[in-house]
Symmetry: C2
Subunit: 209 residues, 2 copies
DNA sequence: ATGTAATCGTTAAAAAAATAACAATGCATA
DNA sequence: TATGCATTGTTATTTTTTTAACGATTACAT
């Protein structure tokens, strides 16, 4: 029943949020939920929720609602979180280390295989069992270890260069934290995370209120 | 010439991106730019750029384009980045420390005044000159130090509680990194940053390609 | 000084997204 | 087993957002 029409970016951006709420409910033993209840919890409209879910097929049942764990599983699959991904982090500075220490990712399907840096003081250290290696060895490591995701935590002026190296070695997605929009070929997914953008938006809102 | 009509969320979310590109151009000595050139650089349409800027008034000149540093300044003001903000960070774990170490924020208008934690091993330490204090002293600190922004980097189950404390002590905006949507009263701005949402979106895209 | 090309601001049109409406369906209860 | 109620899936409507079009204005070259 999967609709083959292209799913809009707006819907995709909401999927992780649904997943977050559903996972939480599942953990708390909630077995069923209606679009109405979910809309109250999440601050969306019930109509939007039903439309969103219907992009992927009918997960609910009339007169009943949605089975929480079933729905949660479906969304997990849609997002691709039922698979396993090998991850490396380029740049073992504060942010790189913070991401490496974040247990949440491991609990899902992402396994951080190594970190890379240029700093000799960092090379050789381990963060939560994840080794920091010389960035000169990154290319070989990617090629030999079936790495799917490259996290970019290097300074702005090295971000595109590091990204290019990852892409050349066959990485299929880039999660970039450098404060610049890195580019990739069409067949390599990229998420440019701009923490400062979010802070600036907050400044705007704070002054508007 | 400021339009008083409410500016849409979509436009506001693009402002920091404009700011980022313009600041960069200014630093590189670019003096003028047309909506067309900017659209090429940023991957937007020229039409959208002109419309966005016109929400706030006419910053350009026909036949010429926009003066980069003038435009950059205007956007800085619109975002409220010409003011100064005092910031505290609740939670001095890896992410809290990473944010504290991020020089970029200091270079703008945000001054991190202190960090707070429950962990006795962390209390008393300093990160880049920023002291880590006992979280029990946070309320008094906020009240006595004119704090504008509260950054929440505590575990999920403490996030709302810490937010509430901040709000009660008069903080005007919350930048939350805990993996839960914290709520605030209407007169307190909030940005819930969900790093994992971005990673999950990346997983989706990677599988879709 | 004049004409041409460039480019904005603004209005109009198109596309996308969100919301509302409602018929169809299955659950729950008597 | 039959009836009513709840709730979905889906279609229609409204709203928002994006894109296109174009007249007005200015820089720049001749």
């Amino acid at each position: 029943m999967q609709k083959s029409n292209k799913v809009s970016e707006a819907v995709i951006r909401r999927l992780p949020k649904y997943y977050r709420y559903l996972k939480d409910m599942e953990k708390n033993g909630v077995q069923r939920i209606s679009s109405r209840e979910l809309s109250d919890k999440m601050g969306l409209t019930a109509s939007q929720i039903r439309q969103d879910f219907n992009c992927f097929g009918g997960f609910g049942q009339q007169g009943y609602g949605y089975n929480v764990s079933e729905l949660c599983n479906e969304i997990r699959k849609i997002l691709g979180l039922h698979k396993n991904y090998n991850v490396i982090i380029a740049g073992a500075g504060n942010l790189g280390q913070a991401l490496a220490s974040y247990v949440g990712f491991e609990r899902e399907c992402f396994t951080i295989k190594a970190m890379f840096d240029v700093n000799p003081k960092l090379i050789g250290l381990s963060i939560r069992g994840i080794q920091i290696l010389d960035i000169d060895t990154m290319r070989d490591f990617i090629i030999n270890n079936d790495i799917h995701v490259g996290v970019v935590c290097v300074p702005k002026n090295k971000a595109q260069e590091v990204t290019d190296a990852m892409v050349e070695c066959g990485i299929k997605s880039i999660w970039n934290f450098a404060p610049i929009d890195v580019g990739t070929p069409d067949n390599v997914a990229v998420e440019n995370v701009h923490l400062s953008d979010s802070l600036y938006t907050l400044a705007y809102k704070m002054n508007e209120i």
